[in-house]
């Protein structure tokens, strides 16, 4: 059992991180904690992608050494290098995740300006009160 877990430890790490993130998003009542949960969630996926580019057996970063005049090594073994494509995809995903965090933080500022709190329960209470005033006239 332990070997089974250790053999695929990168997947276990990503699943555990993802569940922590999901729990924070669903279970926490503070909006900033929800946002942090969202970040953990996104990071877990980034780690997952990065880990699937790794190869066993001494593969290294994909920098092809040449003589500086466009004449590189003639025989390039793909097995010698890590797969760079998932990493490149994650550069885009990181940008997306930062943009999402930025928009979410801006929204939190809007919420704070309006309700002066970031606790979901308190906001709900304030909104309920406001709507009951509205219906009473």
């Amino acid at each position: 059992m332990l070997e089974y877990i250790l053999a695929k430890y990168n997947f276990w790490i990503y699943v555990v991180l993802m569940m922590i993130g999901l729990y924070a998003m669903m279970g926490k009542r503070n909006l900033v904690k929800k946002l942090i949960g969202m970040n953990i969630f996104q990071t877990s996926i980034i780690l997952f992608f990065v880990s699937i580019g790794v190869k066993k057996g001494g593969a290294t970063v994909p920098i092809i050494m040449g003589d500086g005049h466009g004449h590189g090594q003639h025989l390039i073994q793909a097995a010698d290098y890590l797969n760079p494509l998932p990493h490149v995809l994650m550069l885009t995903a990181i940008v997306v995740s930062i943009a999402t965090t930025g928009v979410a933080l801006a929204t939190l500022i809007l919420i704070y300006k309006r309700y002066h709190t970031l606790e979901e329960d308190e906001i709900m209470a304030i909104r309920k009160e406001a709507s009951s005033y509205k219906t009473l006239g």
Binding site: L22, M25, L31, K34, L35, M38, F41, Q42, I45, F48, F49, I52, L85, P86, L89, T92, A93, V96, A99, T100, V103, A104, A106, T107, L108, L110, I111, R114, I123, R127, A130
Partner: protein
């Protein structure tokens, strides 16, 4: 020139979006003509591309000249050509309609609004045109992020609704991204056509199954399929008028497009039938979505919120058409994507015009509205008839195909749900029409309001009325034309296996 159209469709609104704040910085009133001009280009280009597809068949465009499995490929086929025209047309009309709504809801933020609008349209067009799985994710997030920004400007509950939408929408997009990762792990490719060739040998691999599950869940969240719809009513109800007009008809339909792509282009139809029972599960989820959407819509008195619940039911229609897995069903689903986008768009346009004129959104505010806003209410009646499935309007034809599909699949409960839902739509809309047209004149001595005595005509401004009338006309014209659209476009979009 015309072979560059697929790239221009994306590049023009994207660059236009970046230039909008610069223009709006000094000359705020120039933003609107600028955005209209920018949006007219993708509309012309996508019409031309659709005609090209109809003439000569699907074609692809290699971005930057890189060949498909490595480079990003833009692929225009019958389905994506149709969606491109739909998105570009609705985008242009929504931008045209936005001016009075902006002055009412988000005054002074013209440049921000038009920037995000152009980004939103870029994202939606990009999802439809690209032939690369990861590129779909990027465009999905472009459109979602601009959508969050737009919705947050709305009325009282909007920031809270936006935050919930961000959290749930990010989960959806992340699930989609995980699906991409699992497929990449098993195949080493991201190109949809390439994957479609590799995948059939791997259908029983667990990695592929998990990837497919993540795809479906992620897209269902973006689509607002019941029980993943919780973000939708709040977000679309509280958004500013012009914003919900833009986002509501398009976002769910484009997500439905991704689902069709994944189930029928990326995977072969028999995978979704025999390997995993996803079609059956989706079908029953659609039944529940239609029933719950109808019941919830009946419970609403705010018409904007009512329409969002109708949208949940309409998403159920489309998913049901996909899930029955036969030719009439899928034809109906694709036709309903087009028709429903037009109908929901027209409904939100009407709601925007009514609230701009200072009338409330509650049903009792509709009293005598036919005398105050005759053209707007006429368009409303046309949409209502179309929603209930009265023949000359387009809603009848897509529902006809959907019901044919469920009968062919011998799913009688699905057929009954569709028919019952039409009746529910009838009740929903006729209670409003009755209030507007058939309410008795108030002749009692009490409640005597001098304003009510002779009701002055007070129609919406031309920039709102023109899109409303165009859309209403389209709804009527699409009906008789639907046979032609199916013959020219949709029948080729349905996979040959059916």
């Amino acid at each position: 020139m015309s072979e560059q159209f697929p790239a221009l469709i994306i590049v023009v609104p994207l660059l236009g979006a970046f230039l909008t704040p610069i223009i709006g910085w000094r000359y705020r009133q120039l933003c609107r003509p600028w955005a209209l001009m920018i949006l007219a280009i993708p509309l012309c280009a996508s019409c031309e591309t659709l005609l090209e597809v109809v003439r000569t068949g699907p074609f692809s465009y290699n971005l930057g000249g890189w060949a498909p499995p490595w480079g990003i490929e833009y692929r225009v086929d019958y389905l994506s050509g149709l969606m491109l025209v739909l998105i570009a047309a609705i985008g242009l009309l929504a931008a045209f309609n936005a001016k009075p709504g902006i002055t009412m809801d988000i005054r002074g933020k013209e440049s921000q609004f038009y920037t995000l609008l152009l980004l939103q349209i870029t994202g939606l067009l990009g999802i439809v045109i690209t032939g690369d799985l990861f590129n779909v994710f990027v465009f999905l997030e472009i459109s979602s992020l601009s959508g969050y920004g737009l919705i947050a400007h709305g009325e009282d509950g909007a920031p809270m609704a936006t935050f919930n939408y961000i959290i749930i929408g990010t989960i959806g997009a992340s699930f989609y991204l995980l699906g991409v990762g699992y497929l990449y792990m098993a195949t080493g490719s991201l190109n949809i056509a390439d994957l479609a060739a590799i995948l059939p040998n791997l259908y029983h691999s667990k990695v592929i199954l998990v990837g497919f599950a993540f795809f479906t869940t992620g897209v269902a969240i973006k689509m607002g399929l019941f029980p993943l719809h919780v973000w939708m009513p709040d977000a679309y109800t509280t958004a500013p008028g012009p914003v919900s007009t833009l986002i509501a008809p398009l976002m769910t339909k484009v997500a439905a497009y991704i689902l069709i792509r994944i189930m029928f282009t990326l995977f072969q139809p028999e995978f979704s039938i025999s390997v995993v029972p996803v079609a059956t599960i989706l079908g029953w989820m659609a039944v529940v979505a239609i029933i719950i959407g109808g019941i919830k819509a009946l419970a609403q008195t705010d018409i904007k919120r009512m329409v969002t619940y109708i949208m949940i039911a309409e998403v159920g229609y489309i998913v049901m058409g996909i899930s029955v897995m036969n030719r009439p069903g899928l034809t109906g689903a694709i036709l309903h994507i087009v028709n429903d986008a037009c109908m929901i768009f027209c409904l939100f346009l009407v709601i925007g015009a009514i609230s701009y004129k200072g009338h409330g959104r509650e049903i009792y505010h509709f009293q005598h509205l036919n005398k105050k806003m005759p053209f707007t209410m006429a368009a409303f009646v046309i949409v209502a008839l179309s929603m209930c499935g009265i023949p000359p309007a387009c809603g009848f034809f897509s529902k006809w195909y959907l019901i044919m599909g469920t009968i062919m699949a011998k799913q009688w409960i699905f057929s009954i749900t569709l028919l019952g839902s039409s009746l529910v739509n009838g009740v929903l809309f006729f209670r409003i029409i009755e209030k507007a047209y058939l309410a008795p004149p108030e002749d009692g001595a009490h409640d005597h309001d001098p304003e009510e005595e002779d009701i002055v005509r007070d129609e919406a401004p031309a920039s709102m009325l023109i899109p409303i009338l165009i859309t209403a006309a389209i709804i009527i014209i699409l009906g008789p034309l639907s046979g032609k659209i199916i013959a020219a476009v949709i029948q080729h979009a349905v996979p040959a296996a059916f």
